[in-house]
């Protein structure tokens, strides 16, 4: 049942470019997909370890900048007489660099910010994102500052003598993003179902208790931050090579908010949650745009909808639907099975 549903959903996503000819719709889906990947990575931190990071866009932006800089090449003075130069690298290598360096930043930032919890953690993560944005804005020599990095080459896959293929155009990028999303989903699913994942959930539920049974809390928090940052960096690299221009506005707080709202509305701590929330909040701005009202009022509506959805289903859509589904199962089944379903739900 579950497998069949997953296969049907996958077939649906794969078939979309076959019957959607409108390039703008495909563009919206690609960008939605990229942010959904970022939301999935944030879910690992927010949903499974319970730490609300409001600086997640930092890793997304670092991924975008690293992959762009590596694929374009750069030369920068690290000291007045110390010039570091890197020639243009193949894009696939640049993207791997983006993933590695984002993951490293996740480690470094995690080590520092996991010293605090709760609202302090939230503020610290916002601060990190802001510092990274200011660096991107001011380090002209490396990042070109507000002038942006332009003409970022698209991903090219080549096996000498056999094939050479560039991901140019909407359809190719759609499949690239879909493939990346599947990879990210599998990595995250594997992680949360492993021993490390159970440790993360344990420390989310009750940190002192988790610590007392010998779970090294900081180690698992940092592990989740590294994986989460690396996947967010991958999403950023995909974004850069698709949009082909990166400027410091990529670090704007509103992108973090978008990721967080995708996770929370879909259902944090569920694998399907960020996908459901990602589709809703990826497509919502486009739906609001079709209302033909001023952009400011569209954003006002966005904010109001955010308040309403969060107030109505604070735990998210996927858990709420699961709840309704379980209730129905319970109503049909006998009392014995019902209590079993209830116990399973409680266990979740």
């Amino acid at each position: 049942m579950r497998r069949a549903a997953t296969a049907a959903l996958l077939a649906f996503f794969i078939s979309i470019p076959l019957w959607v000819a409108n390039l703008y719709v495909l563009h919206v889906l690609i960008v939605t997909g990229i942010f959904t990947i970022a939301a999935m990575s944030l879910n690992l931190l927010l949903g499974y370890t319970g730490q609300l990071s409001l600086g997640h866009v930092a890793f997304f932006g670092i991924g975008a900048y690293v992959s762009s800089l590596a694929s374009l090449g750069f030369s920068v003075h690290l000291a007045p007489d110390w010039l570091v130069t890197l020639g243009p690298q193949p894009v696939w290598l640049a993207m791997l660099w983006a993933i590695a360096i984002s993951g490293f930043c996740g480690w470094a930032i995690g080590r520092i910010s996991f010293k605090v919890r709760g609202a302090y953690f939230v503020i610290v993560t916002i601060s990190f994102a802001e510092v990274v944005r200011l660096v991107a804005l001011n380090w002209d020599e490396l990042t070109n500052g507000p002038m942006a990095l332009n003409n970022i080459p698209p991903l090219t896959v080549s096996i000498p003598g056999l094939i050479e293929f560039s991901f140019i155009g909407k359809v190719a990028n759609y499949y690239l993003v879909l493939a990346a999303a599947i990879v990210a989903y599998v990595v995250i699913a594997r992680l949360v179902h492993s021993q490390a994942g159970r440790a993360m959930i344990a420390l989310k539920e009750n940190e002192p208790l988790a610590m007392s049974v010998g779970i090294e809390v900081t180690r698992y928090l940092v592990l989740s931050a590294v994986v989460s940052a690396a996947i967010a960096g991958m999403a950023g690299a995909l974004y850069a090579q698709y949009i082909q221009i990166v400027d410091p506005n990529i670090f704007l707080f509103i992108y973090t908010v978008t990721m967080v709202i995708m996770v929370v509305v879909g259902g944090k701590g569920t694998l399907a949650g960020p996908i459901v929330g990602g589709l809703i909040f990826g497509l919502l701005p486009e739906g609001l745009r079709s209302l033909q009202i001023q952009p400011e009022l569209q954003w006002v509506a966005y904010g109001v909808m955010m308040i309403l959805i969060v107030s109505i289903v604070p735990r998210g859509i996927v858990p709420a639907l699961a709840h309704v589904w379980n209730d129905r199962v319970r109503a049909k089944a006998g009392p014995a099975e019902a209590s079993e379903a209830g116990a399973r739900q409680a266990a979740q």
Binding site: L46, L52, I112, S113, K115, V116, R117, G118, A119, Y120, V122, I123, V124, I126, S127, F128, E130, V131, L134, V135, L137, N138, E207, P208, F253, I254, V257, V260, I261, V264, K268, Q294, E296, L297, W299, V300, Y302, G303, V304, M305, M306, I307, V310, S311, P314
Partner: protein, 290 residues
């Protein structure tokens, strides 16, 4: 030396503003456990009310200032009553997201109402600065500093000396116990949020006329207020005051002698440094780990 003195003057003025912003945020944060993302919007609301009152309605500048602050108090009370009252007992993520939603809606409403063009407010201060033995200080900056000090002192007295203040402190320590002792929690929350909002609006109303009034001005102000709260510790008025002035001095000196592009990064770098060296914060007595 002249330059250094000028930086000091600026730092004192900015420090007063940061302290006002930080005190408002730290009270709301400490007593209500709400990370108030609308704080920056209250700041820009105060500045826009100043613009509307002085430039459009031609109200006297010194009368407009308390009026703008009162409007900020009213708006804060309205936010508390319509949004936060329903969220008592909700987890911190839910409350935070509702406040982020409110922030997005308010900021765009503001941009819609006032357009994206920056506005300036005329001040009644003489253009010639006050000269004290070779050193000159602009009257407007002196005024901002003086009013900020009065407001900080007033808030401190309110929290430390009055019945309401005692109820606020009791709620901060243990809201359940305070409720059992007969403290009207709803009233404390409403007053706290309205007071914090009023202080943010006052900060905007003071600083708006010195610089310009624009729709995005609240974002940076909110980030600064967050930085002040981290530096000063949870719910501590004294900590927020010291934190505010400290942040202003570091920013001003950093911008003057290191790099002006990184001016706004100084505070955040300071936060990171504080966390590495002393994760409990500079002035907080309470643990914030775990």
């Amino acid at each position: 030396m002249e330059e250094f003195f000028q930086h000091c003057v600026n730092a004192f003025m900015l420090g007063g503003i940061y302290a006002l912003l930080g005190i408002g945020l730290t009270l709301i944060f400490g007593i209500m456990r709400v990370v108030n993302f609308t704080h920056g919007e209250l700041y820009s609301f105060g500045a826009y009310m100043m613009f509307a009152l002085v430039m459009l309605l031609h109200v006297n500048f010194f009368l407009a200032l308390p009026l703008a602050m009162a409007l900020g108090v009213a708006l804060g009370a309205a936010i508390e009553f319509t949004l936060l009252r329903k969220l008592r007992g909700a987890d911190i993520d839910t409350t935070m997201l509702v406040m982020i939603g409110a922030w997005i809606a308010m900021q765009n409403l503001e941009q819609f109402a006032w357009s994206g063009v920056a506005k300036s407010v005329k001040t009644p201060f003489p253009a010639t600065p006050l000269v004290l033995g070779g050193l000159s200080v602009a009257w407007s900056r002196l005024f901002v500093f003086a009013v900020a000090i009065v407001l900080i002192g007033g808030t401190y007295t309110l929290v430390d000396r009055t019945r309401l203040g005692r109820a606020m402190r009791a709620t901060f320590q243990d809201s359940d116990a305070a409720k059992l002792m007969g403290v009207d929690i709803d009233r404390v929350y409403l007053s706290t949020f309205a007071l914090g909002s009023g202080l943010a609006a006052a900060a905007g109303a003071l600083l708006g006329p010195i610089f310009v009034v624009s729709p995005g001005m609240g974002d940076l102000a909110a980030l600064k207020a967050f930085a002040v709260v981290i530096l000063g510790g949870l719910g501590s008025i004294a900590g927020a005051t010291i934190g505010g002035f400290l942040l202003a001095f570091i920013e001003e000196m950093g911008a003057g002698y290191v790099s002006s592009g990184y001016r706004d990064a100084m505070g955040f770098l300071l936060i990171i440094l504080v966390l590495v060296v002393r994760p409990t914060g500079l002035f907080s007595r309470k643990e914030r780990i775990g």
